[in-house]
Symmetry: C2
């Protein structure tokens, strides 16, 4: 973050406007091709990648073609984990852009050049593990999703309210660990409700598979809702 | 973060210089009063506060007077958890400063006005839960410490290298959960070593008490090493 500030000192406001302009261009492109885009955010280590490893095969069974943009500061570890799925994955590292603490819309735009959007149904953008800054940036996605590991305790929705206000869905991850934790799941839900009463909550476990089908149902329903709402159910004819 | 940028558009470089200047002033003040200062950083929910709840009573038994600056974006939840310890605690929220994603040196400076440094031995600054941005800012502390919950998996040192390079100590937290996780502790240590071979690692569990005494030993040794190195073992006479 600071390094970008250093690079762009005289044009900070322009950078913000640029960011929103790139997000709008991304959204236009996604809509034209009927691609449903999810911006997945969480603390580091909440299990986004592991969850995608379980989610994408289920979506494939429902004839949805998936792709992933893997956001990281550095390393290609997460992309490597996803490569056995045989889907298009682009690693988007912020290190060459100053080590940004979040995925920017310009990075998504750069990644899109490596995809064939015409043959894609669902695109996951796995953001950098960070519960603060990623919530502030529009990437052009359809829905923002926060993954909250129940190992992180009850208070995160109250301490990081912007993240929980920006998202449409909260996946409560690592549910398999519930018996081993002093964590009050009802209190997590109450804190979520207090922060954003509209936020849908789905408990999941990549280990046991709990909730992964429900999460796929949510994606399919939201994707279909989007098409109807925007009268853009034209993809099959356009292609 | 972005909001601070908006507030200070014409003087971004000055803000960075200001930040370092405030950090130097803080450090001078800490050194004058012989206060040893730890900047505690981690992902959200790695257990910094719970660990402090266990650590501070042990340090008190060793006749060390402790105090805490609780950094958060919003809420006083963590300060409330620490209040039964009967030590000075100042809640430093970034929300009035634009919702910064890290504790800044100006915020530490503002907090210091509420403490009596002359009667203090160890000051903990509990930073905002974020493995990225807090690593970039000097607060005037003596040592940076990263708390890594083993629930976050093996790859965090490789994915967030700056944090692990800046710190002198890594506390591997939530060790009590090890039997319930598919996590390779040797691989965590190997990834830490690859990122920063100088980083001391202490496994801890606030739940079982594992490693908390070793962590206190480390604090005492580092505090004493600092005094000797800087020839500033004058506190008792000065007071």
């Amino acid at each position: 973050m600071m390094k970008v500030m250093r690079m762009k000192i005289p044009v900070i406001r322009n950078v913000l406007e640029e960011s929103d302009a790139r997000a709008r261009e991304n959204r236009t492109l996604f809509d034209r091709h009927g691609v449903f885009v999810l911006n997945m955010m969480s603390s580091p280590g909440a299990g986004k990648t592991t969850l995608l490893q379980k989610t994408i095969p289920l979506l494939q069974k429902r004839n949805l073609k998936c792709a992933v943009i893997e956001g990281d500061i550095t390393s290609t570890l997460d992309s490597e984990k996803l490569s056995p799925l045989g889907i298009p994955v682009v690693q988007a590292n912020t290190e060459p852009f100053g080590g940004d603490c979040h995925v920017g819309s310009h990075l998504v735009q750069a990644a899109l050049a490596h995809f064939d959007l015409a043959t894609m149904d669902v695109l996951f953008i796995e953001n950098i593990g960070n519960l603060v800054c990623p919530a502030e940036f529009d990437l052009g996605e359809d829905r923002k999703v926060v993954v909250l590991s129940i190992t992180e305790g009850e208070d995160k929705p109250v301490k990081y309210p912007l993240m929980f206000r920006e998202c449409k869905l909260c996946l409560l991850s690592k549910m398999d660990l519930a018996p081993h934790l002093d964590v009050d799941l009802a209190r997590i839900r109450e804190n979520i409700r207090r922060t954003n009463a509209e936020l849908t909550v789905i408990p999941v476990s990549a280990k046991t598979g709990e909730g992964v089908a429900a999460w796929c149902d949510w994606i399919v329903a939201q994707k279909s809702g989007k098409r109807k709402a925007e009268g853009s159910d034209q993809k099959s004819r356009e292609l």
